[in-house]
Symmetry: C2
Subunit: 413 residues, 2 copies
């Protein structure tokens, strides 16, 4: 189907989806899971084709790994759909309600967006995850995956659509958007047909979507996350938090990328921290002050303070004051998750008030900024923008609202 | 000051504004009100210049009227600022909060956006209103008014900035953005410096901002609002609601523009309704079925069902069923406020569930869809988009949120 026909079909489907109750949606999610599980052999075969093409095109092994499906990964996708069925349905929730003085009743009710476009890279699990999250939140999904995963995504989307049909829900709730680059452009400019676009991937993808879209975009993901170790931090705590934030899973957006150290604690903190980081395989890229504590610290280039390494690398800098730390963060933050380790209430409050980010952490690891850790059960991404949703986005963040106003003939005086 | 310098100054000011408490902001609002009141003579003189230019350029009298200030209108602007001081401060409100199983505390707290751009037409009161709403919600304001109101806006902005200074708040919280069309373009593409753009004006202005902006936009305002009179509506109630929705203030976005009548009630409803509308000076533009009830109904052109008249005109059409009404609304709605008059619970529930709009009304006038009527106290506009805010936008809708996460050294396992 051409993109425009898919978008129109999705729009039409969204009317039906908006009126499904939770039981109908949960039944559909289980049917999608069943159909996906039944397609395992076909999925693995299609994925083998994609993986072989990627390898012969000389694709980096880390990307090939992301692209690869295994029976365990398919089981994860299947379980993800079943887990969604176990979550509460946000649609229909009354956010607030009141009566006007004349007795008219006003309720603000959660409703689906309508049609959601997801633009993503070569992770085939996103196809099932995003389709499931959209379905549970009552939205039709236009899934624009990477061409490198096309065969895998086709089999996945076909299975999901079969599941929908089995459950008596229109298969037009889920579309895989195929075609060349120009189709991505059509999707980004389909204002009126598509209600919101969510790019999931690296900084380049997100920037391209932000720049090229007339459809409203929810930005997710890039994180140049700072850890500021204040003058009176507990050294042991600071080392533990830094190490966890940097090394517990370095490839994700809430991992630490830059360390700022107050000069008054540098003598006590840095030798311990550098030793621990070195032991964990982290390469520290520091300024002269940091380098004076260890020969293992390499010189940081100026632009490294803007880097989102996503690897076992860490930029580091000694600062004269909390003011300098705040100014540094203001200049280099991507607005994701920023941490202070401090024993001072004043510093903690100032940092929490002045740092402009989706999450500000005091004496805790930034790895907690995550829909799973927050107890959301499902996460479509971590929004780093200020409109609509900021921080981890669960099912309620995948909805809009509508005022339902009921009277008995009242008019305005 | 050049636009870019203003935007940078506003960005810097936003850091200070985010940390002001309510008392400081209320003091500033009263000081802004005082300074504006003190500038009355200067304001009237500047406005006379703008009005004279507009008249000599042959501007429509209705637009000249909007542009014109009187002592009473200035008093209204002054009072508007004082009323804002009486409203609760949304900044710092904890939207929700909980503890993770490991004891880490998570709070989602309202914070200002940062820098808000307002692009508006020749209503000089918007300069003071928008500056006040931005200040109370902790945002710096970049005000891009119409060049036809430039002299008036300059005096207003200067007075507001003096008031800020008097209250000890940085005057860079408020900027009037001057210059040619290219400056509007700069404002629309100032992503990173400006957090959100709110166009206030007609459909053309809003479309231009939506199309040209890389900064996130909140769409406000256009309303092709329908009134559907269902088969078993109370005829008296339907006439009263329709008349109020159409005539109580026809120039505003929540006024009715299209009437849909179920064929089974047309014989009883339309003669009464057409007589009442005629008596109120409304010209009805109808289909053949509507015209069969009165010679006063003029033939509707097809594109009139998309019209936002904002005058004493009303498109009308007889439909065979609620399905046809829903389909008509789906095709022609601008997503503002849609009304059903009905005695049937089933029809009311279906209409409320299936109509995709900011507000759906059952047996009440769409004129209630208004920040003032909702009790919000102040309104920056009525959002017709689905992201962030939908419907009347009060002070809380002028904020984003931030997660503040506090621990005692916890890390992720």
């Amino acid at each position: 189907m051409e993109f425009r026909d898919q978008a129109i079909a999705a729009r039409r489907a969204s009317v039906e989806l908006a009126t499904l109750n939770r039981a109908q949606k949960d039944k559909a999610l289980h049917a999608m899971a069943d159909a996906l599980a039944a397609a395992e052999a076909e999925l693995l075969a299609a994925n083998e084709v994609d993986v072989a093409s990627a390898r012969s095109a000389g694709t980096e092994e880390s990307i090939v790994d992301r692209l690869s499906l295994t029976p365990a990964r398919i089981a994860g996708m299947v379980q993800g759909l079943r887990d969604l069925a176990a979550l509460p349905d946000p649609v229909g929730d009354v956010v607030r309600g009141w009566k006007l003085p004349n007795g008219v009743s006003v309720r603000q009710v959660r409703v689906p967006f309508g049609v959601v476009g997801i633009i993503y890279e070569a992770r085939p699990n996103v196809t099932a995850d995003a389709a499931g999250i959209c379905l549970k939140s009552g939205n039709a999904a236009l899934l624009r995956g990477s061409s490198s995963a096309l065969n895998t995504n086709r089999v996945t989307a076909e299975a999901l659509r079969r599941g929908l049909t089995d459950a008596g829900v229109t298969p037009d709730a889920v579309h895989l958007v195929e075609g060349g680059r120009e189709v991505t452009g059509e999707l980004m400019r389909a204002r009126g047909l598509v209600d919101v676009l969510i790019p999931r991937g690296g900084a380049g993808l997100i920037q391209a979507v932000v720049d090229g879209s007339t459809v409203p975009v929810i930005e997710t993901g890039t994180g140049n996350c700072h850890v500021f170790v204040d003058a009176d931090a507990d050294v042991e705590q600071a080392v533990t938090i830094l190490l966890n934030a940097k090394t517990q899973r370095p490839s994700v957006c809430n991992a630490a990328e830059t360390l700022l150290v107050h000069k008054d604690i540098a003598d006590r903190f840095l030798p311990r921290a550098l030793e621990a980081l070195g032991g964990a395989g982290v390469t520290v890229h520091g300024d002269d002050a940091t380098r004076s504590y260890s020969d293992t610290v390499v010189a940081a280039k100026a632009d490294e303070y803007d880097a989102e390494y996503l690897t076992l690398d860490l930029a580091a800098k000694v600062v004269d004051s909390i003011d300098e730390a705040l100014e540094h963060i203001r200049t280099h933050t991507t607005g994701h998750s920023e941490t202070i380790v401090t024993g001072s209430r004043t510093s903690a409050e100032r940092f929490a008030a002045e740092v402009d980010a989706a999450a500000v952490l005091v004496n805790a690891s930034s790895r907690f900024v995550d829909g799973g850790e927050f107890g959301f059960g499902a996460e479509i991404g971590i929004s780093t923008q200020k409109l609509h949703a900021r921080g981890p986005m669960g099912l309620p963040e995948m909805t809009s609202s509508k005022y339902v106003i009921e009277g008995a003939g009242q008019v305005r005086a």
